[in-house]
Amino acid sequence: MFSKVLIANRGEIARRIIRTCRRMGIATVAVYSDADEKALHVREADEAVRIGEAQVAKSYLNIDAILRAAEQTGAEAIHPGYGLLSENADFARAAAERGIRFIGPSPEAIAAMGSKVAARETVKRAGAPVVPGSEGAVADVEEACRIAAEIGYPVMLKASYGGGGIGMQVVRSEEELRKAFASNSARAKAYFGNGEMFLEKRVERPRHVEIQVLCDGHGHGVYLWERECSIQRRHQKVIEEAPSPFVDEALRRNMGEAALAICRAIRYENAGTLEFLVDEEKNFYFLEMNTRLQVEHPVTEMITGLDLVEWQLRIAAGEPLGFRQDEIAREGHAIECRVYAEDPEKMLPSPGTLTRLVLPEGEGIRNDVGVESGSEITPFYDPMIGKLIVHGRDRAEAIARMQQALDAYVIEGIRSNLPLLRAILASDRFAAGDTTTDFLETWGKR
């Protein structure tokens, strides 16, 4: 096992990784930007290295500064967390070249899933289902219109190198497609350096269900069941749960086996997540793979009793998975709410000073947060300031526990989405498990 690990991330996820390292007797190195000098993750790590200015491009995305920090401190491995450089094949490769272990899959596996067009080909070769679409990037708007007519409207227009919903739009007619094509392509070019676009058939009223996998470096892989993540705004998740109230045993097994087949096709190693759309007839279609730890991994930890960061470290250190598929627990029900610093109605960011933070406590309640009373919530980073996770014997108990926890949660000084979270948990639609990806778009309209 490693004796020292650098965490190339910030906020709640950096703290969460530090926690497991500490339990395993591994020393930790934090990195930080000028905006995070006083952050909790910096204080909690054994060592901390400044890597640049507040803007992510000048600090948390600065590959050279991060690798220099690892070399200076003698860290043997880097945990990238999620977001930032976690799915950057160049970063993984550069670390390996300097003799530092990247805690994640190989650069080749990251690259194979990094382009959605390439990922789709890989998934089809592995025999897993994909949504009907353009089979690769479209040359121009004329080709897009021709293909859309073949697969039938509505279609999804997507950027090949996109993420977070950027460069992505539902179009319901040729007229709409013609209007949307150039603007989305330009946006994708500005954000991701590549304006390549492709088309997919729009699956109506789908659910977003994803499979967590762990694959070791010895050819053994398991799936840690599913997470239901349909409640999203701007294609970012707000509430996740495990198990999914919609998934039955047969679907769970089929999705899990499809996920492992995809992993075998790219010789995947470490923790990963296969995202699928599931339609009302319980057909599932591959969406994308996240080749890293997921924000919502705690719900899986709650029902399996496994520490995913611990297994990421063990796998990266060359250890085999010590258990088989039929030994993995699935106990009770877990729900996660993402707490965002944003206006609950307009869902617009709300930076400022968090003057007071009171976290709920009690049985079955877990808080993963990156802030404390007095923290400055800057506009430089993601609006997610923490995650509230609860576990119950069943879904009803988990919902009741989450409602109590949300009621006890106090945030002052900035606006937060707590009122929205409370309303969702209290809604009949959530109680019924009627969670499709249009849940928030149609919120209050049904």
């Binding site: 803007q55 977070g164 701007r234 610093a341 944003e342 617009l348 960011p349 709300s350 930076p351 400022g352 800057t378 506009p379 430089f380 980073y381 993601d382 609006p383």
Partner: protein, 71 residues
């Protein structure tokens, strides 16, 4: 005379107008980025751009003047 102000802290991503431009009420004049989101800032009333007070890449606080308009 009126000024268009930032309604939240952020980084100026793009300035969409230049001095001499006529703008309508409700028109986007500056695109801010805050917490990984693009936030369009609109002119509350119409006018002619007299001065642009923010440059692309600037960090601005809530309430900072971005664009000065003349009737």
């Amino acid at each position: 005379m009126a000024t268009v102000q930032a309604n939240m802290a952020g980084i100026v991503l793009r300035v969409l107008v230049q001095p001499g431009d006529r703008v309508e009420a409700g028109q986007d004049v500056v695109m801010l980025e805050s917490m990984k989101m693009e936030i369009p800032i609109q002119a509350e009333q119409g006018g002619v751009v007299a001065e642009v007070l923010a440059n692309e890449g600037d960090f601005v606080n809530e309430g900072d003047d971005l664009v000065r308009l003349e009737d």
